[in-house]
C-alpha cells in the first residue's frame, strides 16, 4: 500500500491528466478482454511494463513486485480451470490420488493459458494506472465523470482516514508491545482484539471531531474543493493509438 502510494506520487508522469493515463489503461483492458488471446495478453503486459518503467520511471522491480503480489490469486483460480477432479477414472494425462482422479486436457490447459494471459494483461494495465496515478487523482477523475458527490466524498474521506488510522494503529500497537502485549500467541490474540475495538472507538471519536472542524469551515452539503490542475501530453494520444493498433494487429494476425 505504502510503496504503491509512494510511486503514485513521485513517478515521472504524476502531473499528467488522470484521464489520459486512465484512457491508456482502459484501452488495454478493453482490447485484452475483447480479443481474448494469449499473445494479446502478453503484449499488453509488455506495453504496460514499458510505459510504467520507461515513461513513468517506476522501477522495474516495483512493477514486478506488484504483479507478483497478485499472481498467487490468479494461479489459485487457474488451478480449478486447468485441472479436473473426478471420482471416476479420467483419460490420460491423469494421476490417481486414492479414490480421486486428477486430470487435465489440452482444451482446459489452453483455456487456462488464455485466462491467465488475459488476466495478467488486465492486471498489468491496472498496475500501470495505480503506480502512476495517486488515488486522489482517480477520485478527481471520477468527480469529472459526474459520479455522485456522496460517493466521491466517501471515497476521499476513506482514503484520508486510511493513513490517519494507520498512524493510530501503529501508536497503539507500540503502546501494547512495550507492556508485553504480544509476548506469546494467546496474549497477542487478546491484544489484537482489544486493539481492534479501540481503533473502532478512535475512528468514531475522530469522525466527530472531523465533523466539527468541517462545520467550523462552513460545511454545507457536499465537500466542495478546488479542482486539481493537470498537464496534458499530446504524446499520450500517440501512445494510445500505437497501443490499440499493435494489440489489434496481434489479435487479428491469428
Amino acid at each position: 500500500m505504502h510503496i504503491i502510494d509512494r510511486y503514485a506520487y513521485t513517478n515521472a508522469i504524476r502531473e499528467l491528466d488522470p484521464a489520459q493515463k486512465g484512457g491508456l489503461a482502459l484501452i488495454a483492458i478493453i482490447l485484452c478482454l475483447a480479443l481474448d488471446q494469449p499473445a494479446v495478453g502478453v503484449l499488453t503486459l509488455g506495453w504496460m511494463f514499458a510505459l510504467a518503467v520507461l515513461w513513468a520511471r517506476v522501477p522495474a522491480l516495483v512493477f514486478g513486485r506488484a504483479l507478483l503480489a497478485e499472481a498467487p490469486f490468479l494461479l489459485l483460480s487457474l488451478l480449478g480451470v486447468a485441472l479436473s477432479v473426478s471420482l471416476a477414472p479420467l483419460a490420460a494425462p491423469a494421476v490417481q490420488l486414492g479414490p480421486l482422479w486428477l486430470g487435465s486436457s489440452a482444451e482446459s490447459l489452453a483455456m487456462a493459458t488464455r485466462l491467465f494471459t488475459r488476466a495478467l494483461g488486465c492486471a498489468a494495465a491496472l498496475n500501470f494506472l495505480i503506480l502512476t496515478t495517486p488515488l486522489l487523482d482517480l477520485i478527481e477523475l471520477l468527480r469529472r465523470l459526474r459520479v455522485p458527490e456522496t460517493l466521491i466524498d466517501l471515497m476521499s474521506l476513506t482514503y484520508r482516514a486510511i493513513f490517519v488510522l494507520l498512524e493510530s494503529l501503529q501508536r497503539m500497537t507500540t503502546a501494547q508491545a512495550t507492556r508485553l502485549g504480544y509476548s506469546g500467541p494467546w496474549r497477542a490474540m487478546r491484544s489484537a482484539g482489544l486493539l481492534g475495538s479501540q481503533l473502532f472507538l478512535d475512528a468514531y471519536r475522530r469522525s466527530q471531531r472531523l465533523q466539527m472542524s468541517l462545520e467550523s469551515r462552513g460545511l454545507s452539503g457536499p465537500l466542495r474543493v478546488l479542482p486539481l490542475d493537470y498537464r496534458r501530453d499530446r504524446r499520450a494520444r500517440w501512445i494510445g493509438a500505437a497501443l490499440a493498433a499493435s494489440l489489434l494487429l496481434v489479435g487479428a494476425w491469428r
Binding site: 484520508r160 472531523l210 460545511l219 454545507s220 474543493v225 478546488l226 479542482p227 486539481l228
Partner: protein, 242 residues
C-alpha cells in the same frame, strides 16, 4: 469602539455530564489583539472556543460578533464562521483531504467564491503559513508541524477577523512553535485578533498582549500579561510556579 467578538455570560453543560463546562464565562476581544487563554485542563478553554465559532450553543448567555448577536441558522452560522476561524489541536482532525491544495480550498469554496478567487486565496494563505511548496504534496506525507501550518492555512484562506487556536503549539519543537507564533504576529499586524489557548506559560507571557485566565468554567481574569504573571494568586491558579 465596538468589540470584535464578545462572549457574554455563557453557560453550557455537555449532554450526559453532571458538571457544567461553562458557568457564566465572558470574554471580549478587540481588533488586532494577541490574547493567550490559560487555565488547567478541564477549565473550559476548548468549550469556550467552540461557542465562539457557533459549534456549541450556550444554554444561557450570548455570543456577539462585531456587535451582532450570533443567529443559529445556516446563514447566521456561515456568517460567524467567515469572521471567526477555529484551528484545532490535532491537525489530523481538521485535514480531511489527501490533497493539501484541496484541503485549504475547502473553506473559501464554502464561502461561495469563484474559482479564481479561491485559487488566489489558497496561494496567499499558503504563502502566509509557509506551505506554498507543499501544495502538491499528499497530506499524509507531511510532518506534524507541516500539517499544523496547512490546517492553519485552511482557516486563514477564509480571511477571518478572529483566529481561535486551541493548543496548536503543543507538541511542537521550539523552532516550529516560534514559526507558528510568527505567523500569528503577521496576522495581528494585519488587524486580525488571535486567541491562543495554551499550557505553554512562558510562550503566553512573551507573546501575548493580554492573558485571559479560565478556571472552572469561568474567565476569572483578563489583563496584560505582566499583571497576570505579577499576581501571586493568579500565578498559583494557572500553575506558573509549578
Amino acid at each position: 469602539m465596538t468589540a470584535l467578538l464578545e462572549l457574554e455570560q455563557l453557560h453550557y453543560r455537555f449532554p450526559g455530564s453532571a458538571e457544567a463546562a461553562l458557568r457564566g464565562a465572558s470574554l471580549c476581544l478587540e481588533a488586532g489583539q494577541r490574547v493567550a487563554l490559560v487555565g488547567r485542563n478541564g477549565a473550559g478553554k476548548s468549550t469556550l472556543m467552540l461557542h465562539a465559532n457557533g459549534l456549541l450553543r450556550p444554554s444561557a448567555g450570548q455570543v456577539r460578533v462585531a456587535g451582532e448577536p450570533l443567529v443559529y441558522t445556516r446563514r447566521g452560522l456561515l456568517a460567524v464562521r467567515r469572521q471567526v476561524g477555529l484551528v484545532f489541536q490535532n491537525p489530523d482532525d481538521q485535514l480531511f483531504s489527501a490533497s493539501v491544495v484541496q484541503d485549504i480550498s475547502f473553506g473559501p469554496m464554502n464561502l461561495g467564491l469563484d474559482i479564481a478567487e479561491v485559487r488566489r486565496r489558497v496561494v496567499e494563505a499558503a504563502a502566509l503559513c509557509e506551505v506554498r511548496d507543499l501544495l502538491d504534496r499528499p497530506t499524509h506525507a507531511l510532518s506534524g508541524g507541516q500539517k499544523l501550518r496547512v490546517a492553519l492555512a485552511g482557516v486563514l484562506a477564509m480571511t477571518p477577523r478572529v483566529i481561535l487556536a486551541d493548543e496548536v503549539t503543543a507538541g511542537l519543537d521550539p523552532w516550529m512553535r516560534r514559526q507558528v507564533l510568527v505567523i500569528f504576529d503577521r496576522l495581528v499586524a494585519q488587524g486580525v485578533t488571535v486567541l491562543l489557548a495554551t499550557h505553554d506559560l512562558s510562550a503566553a507571557r512573551r507573546w501575548a498582549d493580554q492573558v485571559a485566565v479560565m478556571e472552572a468554567g469561568q474567565v476569572v481574569a483578563v489583563a496584560p500579561s505582566d499583571a497576570i504573571f505579577g499576581d501571586a494568586a493568579l500565578r498559583r491558579l494557572i500553575g506558573a510556579d509549578e
